[in-house]
Structure formats: structure tokens, C-alpha cells
């Protein structure tokens, strides 16, 4: 059993390595000069690939946490409205022409984080204090929150001038085209904290999969653990959404596929999800760069095109 899982994880790690090594070179043949090729590799492709890896790993991890907490493959920060909350926060930041930072974290991240926290508190309130709320009801609430926030974003766009409106629109599509290593440093602390917290709580996540009552009777402080996981995930999703827009469905597809590959034991699932999620987004981003090269499609469009059918397949399969 364990050796099986070890093999699976090893294969995923190898595949990740192969993807990481090869992806920066894809589509490089358009450029003839070796010097420029080097420059592009070091200053654009490499940071962008790292950025894609961190983003994919972070989104997948948060999706995995939500799926475990709600014991439902459809429950992710995106389906529960967290990402739309973050989007609204970031759109407001652009619209109000704000420009501030707090201990080195840029204002857009903070605004997105506040938005994420706002919608997650709402979802948390419903799941905690209305205990008869089923996960299905929560998911529908998430859909309603998403619609509500989307209209608010549209309203903001309508009121904005053409430049801001375009900035918000492009950002909403989700893109990984970044300026340089600075953007990675903005994101890294949030994702790292989240990974550390989730790794630390892997045994609790396993017990939560067996149901709240069993988890409590085994000694898990379920309410406290939920608080921590909700907070850490919101922080992570908020930071990611602020940096590259809402890149949908990664957090739902990756952990679900990983569960099928390696099982529900989080001690194995967490590393598998991080590696798979990171390399998955690198592939999507490479596709986004290559399909209509030299122009590029926002990566969010690719993940959503893949994710939509996947969501429907999951919906039919889980018979909700």
C-alpha cells in the first residue's frame, strides 16, 4: 500500500521535474539571437514558470483543504465565492485609485485578501451557526455570492474610466505574465505559510474526512482547526488572486485527480497536490503562450475551458 503511494508520488515528482526543465524552452525558436534567448530565459521565462508553479500549487492546496473540510469535491475557494470576493476587493482597489502598501505587501493583495476574508466569513457563518445547512446549500450560496460580487465588479467597471476598466477586465481573465522576480516574492510568503499550516494539520485533515463527530471524539478541536484552515486558505487565495487574477478550476481539478491517483491520506495527498498543481499550471500557461503565438491567451481562459466540462462530469458522477 505505502510502497504503491511512494511510487505514485515519485512518478508525479519526475513528471514535474521534466515539465519544469522543458517548459521555459518551448516556443523559443522564434528568436534567433542566442544572447536574447538567454535574456528571455532568465528574465522572463524562468520567473514566469516559478510564478506559475507557486500559483498552481497554492490554488490546488487550498482546493484540497476545502474539499476535505466540506467532504465534497465541488467545494473549493472558487465555488464558495472566496475568489469572487478577492476579485471584488482588487477591483475596488483599482477603481478607487488607491496606492498603498503595508509592511511590504502591496495594497492590491491586501484588498483582495479583505474581499476573500469577507466572503469566507459569510460562508463560515452559514456552515457553523446554521448546522442544518448542507454542503449543497453552501455551494449554492457560493454561486449566489459569486454572482452578486460579479455584478458589483461589472458596476465598478461601468463607472471606471476606460483604462481602469481594461485593467480590471484583463486581470479578471487571469494571467501569469509578470514583470520579474519581485512578483514572486510578493506571493511566496503567503503560499509558504499556507503550505506549512496545512502540512502541520495533515492528521487533522485525515480525521475530518471521517466526519466531524469522529474527529471530535478522537480529540480534534474541529472548530479551532477550521478557523485556522479557513484563514490560511483565504490568505493564500487572496494573495494569488491579487497577483494574477482568478484562475479558475485549478483548485477543483488538481486535488480531485490526485485523490484518485494517491488516495485520501493527506500525508501523501499534500505533496502530490502541490507538485501536480504546480506543473499543471505550468502546462496550461505554456499552452496559453503557444496556441496563438506570438500573442498569448490569458491562462484563466485555458483552465476554465478545461474546468467547465470537468465540473459537469464531477457533478454527474457525484449524483448531487
Amino acid at each position: 500500500m505505502t510502497s504503491n503511494k511512494r511510487t505514485t508520488l515519485f512518478v508525479i515528482a519526475l513528471a514535474t521535474l521534466a515539465i519544469v526543465v522543458s517548459s521555459p524552452f518551448l516556443g523559443l525558436s522564434y528568436i534567433s539571437s542566442t544572447e536574447i534567448q538567454h535574456q528571455i530565459l532568465n528574465e522572463i521565462r524562468l520567473p514566469r514558470m516559478l510564478f506559475a508553479f507557486i500559483t498552481g500549487a497554492g490554488l490546488s492546496l487550498c482546493g484540497m483543504v476545502f474539499q476535505a473540510m466540506f467532504r465534497n469535491p465541488l467545494a473549493t475557494p472558487f465555488t464558495l465565492g472566496v475568489a469572487s470576493g478577492a476579485s471584488l476587493g482588487a477591483a475596488l482597489y483599482v477603481f478607487l485609485g488607491l496606492s498603498f502598501s503595508f509592511i511590504g505587501i502591496n495594497g492590491a493583495s491586501l484588498a483582495a485578501f479583505m474581499g476573500a476574508l469577507l466572503s469566507i466569513s459569510f460562508v463560515y457563518y452559514l456552515s457553523r451557526f446554521r448546522s442544518h445547512f448542507s454542503t449543497e446549500t453552501l455551494l449554492l450560496t457560493g454561486v449566489a455570492i459569486s454572482f452578486f460580487f460579479s455584478s458589483l465588479i461589472l458596476f465598478i467597471q461601468y463607472l471606471s474610466n476606460i483604462t481602469d476598466s481594461f485593467r480590471i477586465l484583463r486581470w479578471l481573465m487571469g494571467s501569469l505574465s509578470i514583470v520579474g522576480y519581485h512578483d514572486i516574492l510578493q506571493l511566496l510568503p503567503f503560499v509558504t505559510i499556507c503550505i506549512a499550516v496545512v502540512l502541520w494539520l495533515s492528521r487533522e485533515l485525515n480525521l475530518l474526512m471521517a466526519g466531524d463527530e469522529i474527529a471530535i471524539s478522537r480529540g480534534v478541536n474541529v472548530q479551532g482547526i477550521r478557523y485556522i484552515l479557513f484563514f490560511a486558505s483565504s490568505l493564500c487565495v487572496g494573495a494569488i488572486v491579487a497577483a494574477c487574477g482568478p484562475i479558475g478550476f485549478v483548485g477543483m481539478m488538481v486535488p480531485h485527480i490526485c485523490r484518485l491517483l494517491i488516495g485520501n491520506d493527506h500525508r501523501w495527498l499534500i505533496p502530490a497536490t502541490l507538485l501536480f498543481g504546480g506543473s499543471f499550471l505550468i502546462i496550461c500557461d505554456s499552452l496559453a503562450r503557444l496556441i496563438i503565438a506570438p500573442a498569448e491567451i490569458p491562462v484563466g481562459v485555458i483552465t476554465t475551458l478545461l474546468g467547465g466540462p470537468f465540473f459537469i462530469w464531477l457533478l454527474i458522477k457525484s449524483k448531487i
Binding site: M1, N206, L207, M209, A210, E213, I214, S217, D265
Partner: protein, 261 residues
């Protein structure tokens, strides 16, 4: 006799509705208490309050000499373990992993699987005879097999008090007898104190040491099991007339719901 558990004036209210109203009882070490009562009497709520799933509105519960409100969830789990009523969760864990997870209360995120953990695990599967299931997935087990694994997992927790919520309700007669035999063995041979919520009146009267009868979320009767059928309480408890006979093998007094003529 040492007192194990004291429940004093326990009241539970949720969203304005009363689920339990000043329930009180006390059990000693080694007791086997059955909680009887009609549906909706608050039996499961009582168990959930004991294990900390539901917080009491007023009153207190103490295990040994300690108020459980003073204990954190991990500390409580070392005193009390629990087998919930319905657990047909679709979870994709092997039996061995599931049972080993019960050592949570004794370990930290960084601690290795220690000798005492392995001993508790081996003892739990030996008592419940579950060696042959260990590599199977939880969801491939039948109801009776699952129930034995749930009990094995609770035993692995090494608590002095085991709570069981209708452990035999969904089982066929064979597994009912098997699970009941296991529970009696745990109590008599291994000295584990037990509180079982049950609808099996005759089992309760014959095998438990004490009965707590709950009706309309209040204590209706509490006393030694042998005395329960000697009173009119059984009729009032279920709002049902009973007739009595002797068990053909043991000669113990047993009750049947009387036929409506």
C-alpha cells in the same frame, strides 16, 4: 467503588429549543449503563454532550474528579471514546490507517509511531478479531464488519469510558449478537466502562448493570437494570403496554410489546 462519571443538572438548548433538561446520573468504574427511551428523547444528544460534540447550556459533567469543561478535546479523548450512530461516510481509508488515526490524542504532528501506540493498536485488533480486515478499504466492509472496526478504533484510543450510540440498530441478528457479545466482553474482561444508547430493551435488562430512561428530554428513571422491569416504568417510557415471559435459556424476565387486540 470509584465514581467514574457524574452528570449534574445537564441542560442543552440549541436555537431556543431544549434538547436536554436537567439530566443527572452517576456511574462507577466498570459499570455498563444502557440509555433507553423513545425516539427524540435526547439519548444521542446526551452522548454528544459527554464527548464534547455539543456544548452544555448549563450543568456540568465530570470524569474522575475533573470537570470536562476544564479539559481540552485531546485530554477528553484520552478519557472517553465514542462510536457514533451512522458512519456510512464514503471514506477511502484502509482499516489499518483508520484505526491508527485513533492515536491522535496521544501524538503530535512530529511524533513517531511509538511502542505504546503499536501496543494499543495490536491490543485493539486482537480483542475485536479484526486482523484479517486490516488491508481492506473501509467502504468495502459490511455493516457488521464496519461496526467492529469502529469499536476497534475506539479501543485503540485507550479511554476508560466507551460511548456507543445504537451499535446494533442496523445489523442482522447474527451481527447484533456478535457486537453485543463483544461489548459485554469489553466490560467484564477488560474492565472498560460503557454507556450504550439502545432500543434493545431485553439486551439492556439482561446484560447492563444500570439503566437510564430518558423521556421528553428528561430523566424518567435511573437505577439498577434488574429493577427496571419490576416497575410500571417500561409502559410509561414507551407509551406502550408490555407483556412479560421468561427467557427459555437463561430464565431472565423479558418483555414483549403487547399485541393490539
Amino acid at each position: 467503588m470509584t465514581i467514574l462519571l457524574t452528570v449534574n443538572d445537564l441542560t442543552v438548548k440549541i436555537d431556543g429549543s431544549t434538547l436536554l433538561s436537567s439530566v443527572h446520573f452517576q456511574i462507577n468504574k466498570g459499570d455498563y449503563l444502557c440509555i433507553l427511551g423513545p425516539n427524540g428523547a435526547g439519548k444521542s444528544t446526551l452522548l454528544k454532550a459527554l464527548i464534547g460534540i455539543i456544548k452544555p447550556t448549563s450543568g456540568n459533567i465530570s470524569i474522575g474528579q475533573q470537570d470536562i469543561a476544564q479539559l481540552n478535546q485531546k485530554q477528553l479523548a484520552r478519557h472517553i471514546s465514542y462510536v457514533p450512530q451512522a458512519h456510512a461516510q464514503a471514506f477511502d481509508f484502509t482499516v489499518i490507517d483508520f484505526i491508527k488515526m485513533s492515536r491522535y490524542a496521544y501524538r503530535t504532528a512530529l511524533s513517531d509511531w511509538a511502542n505504546k501506540d503499536q501496543n494499543a493498536f495490536e491490543k485493539a485488533i486482537a480483542i475485536t478479531h479484526t486482523e484479517s480486515f486490516l488491508q481492506r478499504k473501509m467502504q468495502t466492509l459490511s455493516g457488521g464488519e464496519q461496526q467492529r472496526i469502529m469499536i476497534a478504533a475506539a479501543l485503540c484510543q485507550q479511554a476508560s469510558l466507551l460511548l456507543l450510540d445504537e451499535p446494533t440498530s442496523f445489523l442482522d441478528p447474527h451481527y447484533q449478537a456478535e457486537v453485543h457479545q463483544l461489548i459485554c466482553q469489553l466490560n467484564q474482561q477488560y474492565g472498560i466502562s460503557i454507556i450504550e444508547v439502545s432500543h434493545d430493551l431485553n439486551h439492556a435488562v439482561q446484560h447492563s448493570s444500570a439503566i437510564l430512561a430518558l423521556k421528553k428530554r428528561e430523566t424518567m428513571w435511573f437505577g439498577a437494570s434488574s429493577e427496571f422491569l419490576e416497575t410500571d416504568h417500561v409502559h410509561t417510557l414507551y407509551n406502550q403496554q408490555f407483556v412479560f415471559a421468561k427467557h427459555p435459556q437463561t430464565g431472565a424476565k423479558i418483555a414483549f410489546a403487547s399485541e393490539v387486540s
